[in-house]
C-alpha cells in the first residue's frame, strides 16, 4: 500500500463534470460546497484543456502546517483528512492550499466561514468507520470498503485516475508511449510539429 493520489489526464478530460456530480451525490455535499471542480483553460480555442481538481492529498501538505488547531492530519495511505469537531473555520487552510481545496459553508456572522469541508479521497474521517456520524460529517467511506473514490470510478473517459501513485504514473506513462506527447490535438499538434521541423 503506497501513497494515494489523483491524476487528471488533460488530454482525455472532456469537461463532462461526471466526477463533480458523482462526488456531490455520493457524499451528500451541501449546496455551495464544491469538493471537486472542473476548470477549462482556453475555452473554445484549439488548445482547450480541462482539468478536474479537488484536494491533491499532498505529501507535505501546507494545510497541515498552518492549521491553528491542528485538526488536519495525514493517514498511513497519504490521504489528508481533518476533524470537523476541532475546526474553528479560520480559513487559513484555504490561504495556504495551492489548489483551493478547502471549502466553507457560509454560516457565521456576515456569511463568514463555518467548518471546513473538502475532498476526503472517499475515506471518511475520524469518526467510527461507516457510521452515520461519519457519513453526515465527511461523506462516504469507500476506501474502507476496498473501493476507490467515486469521481475516478465515474470518469467517462478515464481521464481522472485515483489510487496508488506508482500505479497511476505507470498508467500515464503507458498512455504517453502509445499516443505520443501532444497527442489528441489538444496540445496544438500542428504547431508543435512545426516547431520541431
Amino acid at each position: 500500500m503506497g501513497k494515494m493520489a489523483f491524476l487528471c489526464d488533460g488530454d482525455r478530460c472532456i469537461e463532462c463534470n461526471a466526477c463533480v456530480t458523482a462526488c456531490k451525490n455520493e457524499n451528500e455535499v451541501p449546496w455551495g460546497i464544491n469538493r471537486r471542480r472542473v476548470v477549462t483553460i482556453n475555452d473554445g480555442l484549439p488548445d482547450e484543456k480541462s482539468l478536474s481538481v479537488a484536494c491533491m492529498h499532498c505529501a507535505d501538505a501546507p494545510c497541515i502546517s498552518v492549521c491553528p488547531t491542528n485538526v488536519i492530519y495525514s493517514t498511513a495511505d497519504g490521504v489528508v483528512l481533518h476533524d470537523k469537531d476541532g475546526c474553528i473555520g479560520c480559513g487559513y487552510c484555504f490561504y495556504a492550499c495551492p489548489f483551493g481545496a478547502p471549502q466553507y459553508p457560509q454560516k457565521g456572522n456576515f456569511g463568514s466561514r463555518g467548518k471546513m469541508d473538502k475532498c476526503t479521497f472517499c475515506s471518511g474521517g475520524p469518526e467510527e468507520t461507516n457510521s452515520q456520524a461519519e457519513f453526515s460529517k465527511y461523506g462516504r467511506n469507500r476506501v474502507a470498503e476496498g473501493k476507490l473514490p467515486l469521481c475516478a470510478e465515474m470518469c467517462s473517459t478515464k481521464a481522472l485516475l485515483a489510487g496508488d501513485a506508482d500505479v497511476l504514473s505507470d498508467i500515464f506513462r503507458q498512455r504517453v508511449v502509445e499516443r505520443g506527447f501532444g497527442g489528441g490535438g489538444s496540445y496544438g499538434l500542428t504547431e508543435s510539429r512545426k516547431a520541431r521541423t
Partner: protein
C-alpha cells in the same frame, strides 16, 4: 477642431477593430492567459513556441479558467502565494512577535528594577482634581478591555497550537479556540467603537504643542527624575494615542477584510497580505501596550487613579502635567482637602465644582 478630433478617434477605432476581430492567438505567439498577474514566461527558446509548455507554465503562474461554479475564483487552478504566506506567518511574524512581547516584558522588568515605581516627590496633598470625566473613563476602558480580549484570543490563534495545545489537549483547546474566534470577531466591533470615542474625545489634546520639544529633550523625566512641564497629555502619551489610533485603524480595516472574505478584495494574494498585516500589527501593538499598561499601573504612583476614579492628587498633577493643572486651577480654583485615598473611591471623589 472637433471634426479633426472625431476623425482621429474614428481612425484609431478603424485600426483597432480588425485586430480585435481575430481572437485566435498567432501560431507561435505566447498563449493568452488571464490571471491576476502579468505572465512573463521564462522558457528557453526551443520551448517558447511550444504552446503546451506555455500553457502549463501559465497554469503554474495562476491562470484562471472557466468553471460552471458561480464563484469565478474557483477557476484558479494553482496559487503559489500560500506557501510564502505560510512561511512568513510562522517564521517572521511568529518569531519576531515573540521577540517583541518577551523583549518588552524583559525591558519593563529591567526598568522597574532600576528606576522603581515613580513616586509623587512632594507626597500626596489630599487635594484631588478631576482629570477625566466619566465618559472618557468609559471610552478608555471599552477600548482597553476589548483590546486585551482581542490580543489574547489573537495570541491563541498565532501561538496556541505550539504553546497551549500540548498543555490542555486537543479537545479543550478546540473549545477554547472556537470560543476565542467568536470573541475575537465580535470584540473587534467594541474595539472599533471605543477607538472612535477616544479619537473624538482626545484628538485635540494630542496635537503638538510648545512643551513637547522640551519634554522630549528631558527624556520625559523617566530616568532623570526631572519634571518637564506638559499639557493634559505629555509627548509620551501623545505617542501612545497616535500609535493606538493609527495601528488600531489599520487593524480594524484589515480585520473587517478578514471577517468578510473577498468582499473588498478580489484575489487570494491580497487576502494573504491583509492577514499578515493584521497579525503583525496585532502582536506589535500588544507589545507596545504592555509598556502603556505598565506605566499606568505599577510604574507610577497615582497613575491608575486617573483612569479608575477619574480624579488625581494635585501634587501628582503639578509634577507631571503642570500646565494643565495651572489652567484648571485658574479656571476653577484650588480644590479643597478631600479625605485621603483608602476611604473608598466614592468618598474621595467630590471637590467643589
Amino acid at each position: 477642431m472637433i471634426r479633426v478630433l472625431m476623425a482621429a478617434v474614428f481612425a484609431l477605432l478603424a485600426v483597432a477593430a480588425p485586430a480585435q476581430a481575430d481572437v485566435r492567438p498567432p501560431a507561435d505567439a505566447a498563449v493568452a492567459v488571464t490571471s491576476g498577474q502579468d505572465i512573463q514566461p521564462s522558457l528557453p527558446s526551443n520551448l517558447r513556441s511550444n504552446p503546451a509548455a506555455q500553457l502549463w507554465q501559465g497554469i503554474g503562474d495562476g491562470t484562471v479558467g472557466r468553471v460552471t461554479i458561480p464563484d469565478p475564483q474557483a477557476g484558479r487552478l494553482i496559487q503559489t502565494g500560500g506557501m510564502d504566506w505560510l512561511e512568513f506567518r510562522s517564521e517572521v511574524i511568529g518569531f519576531w512577535g515573540m521577540v517583541a512581547v518577551l523583549g518588552m516584558l524583559t525591558g519593563l522588568t529591567a526598568f522597574f528594577m532600576i528606576r522603581g515605581r515613580i513616586k509623587i516627590d512632594s507626597g500626596r496633598s489630599g487635594r484631588l482634581i478631576q482629570r477625566f470625566k466619566r465618559i472618557e473613563v468609559v471610552g478608555h476602558w471599552m477600548t482597553a478591555v476589548s483590546f486585551l480580549a482581542l490580543a489574547l484570543t489573537g495570541l491563541v490563534m498565532l501561538y496556541g497550537r505550539d504553546l497551549l495545545l500540548p498543555l490542555i489537549g486537543p479537545a479543550a483547546f478546540a473549545g477554547l479556540a472556537r470560543a476565542g474566534k467568536y470573541a475575537h470577531n465580535f470584540g473587534g466591533f467594541v474595539f472599533m467603537a471605543g477607538l472612535a470615542m477616544i479619537f473624538v474625545m482626545w484628538v485635540r489634546h494630542n496635537v503638538w504643542d510648545r512643551y513637547d520639544l522640551n519634554w522630549i529633550l528631558k527624556g520625559g523625566g523617566l530616568l532623570s527624575k526631572d519634571h518637564p512641564p506638559a499639557e493634559k497629555f505629555n509627548f509620551g502619551q501623545k505617542t501612545v494615542f497616535w500609535m493606538v489610533i493609527l495601528i488600531g485603524l489599520a487593524l480594524s480595516l484589515t480585520g473587517l477584510n478578514l471577517l468578510m472574505p473577498f468582499w473588498f478584495t478580489p484575489d487570494i494574494e491580497t487576502m494573504q497580505v491583509v492577514q499578515l498585516v493584521h497579525a503583525g500589527l496585532g502582536v506589535g501593538l500588544f507589545a507596545l501596550m504592555l509598556a502603556h499598561i505598565y506605566i499606568g499601573s505599577v510604574g507610577m504612583e497615582s497613575a491608575f487613579d486617573a483612569m479608575s476614579t477619574g480624579y488625581v492628587d494635585i501634587n501628582w498633577a503639578r509634577e507631571h502635567h503642570s500646565v494643565w493643572v495651572d489652567r484648571h486651577v485658574s479656571e476653577q480654583g484650588e480644590p479643597p482637602l478631600a479625605p485621603p485615598p483608602g476611604k473608598g473611591a466614592g468618598a474621595s471623589a467630590q471637590p467643589a465644582e
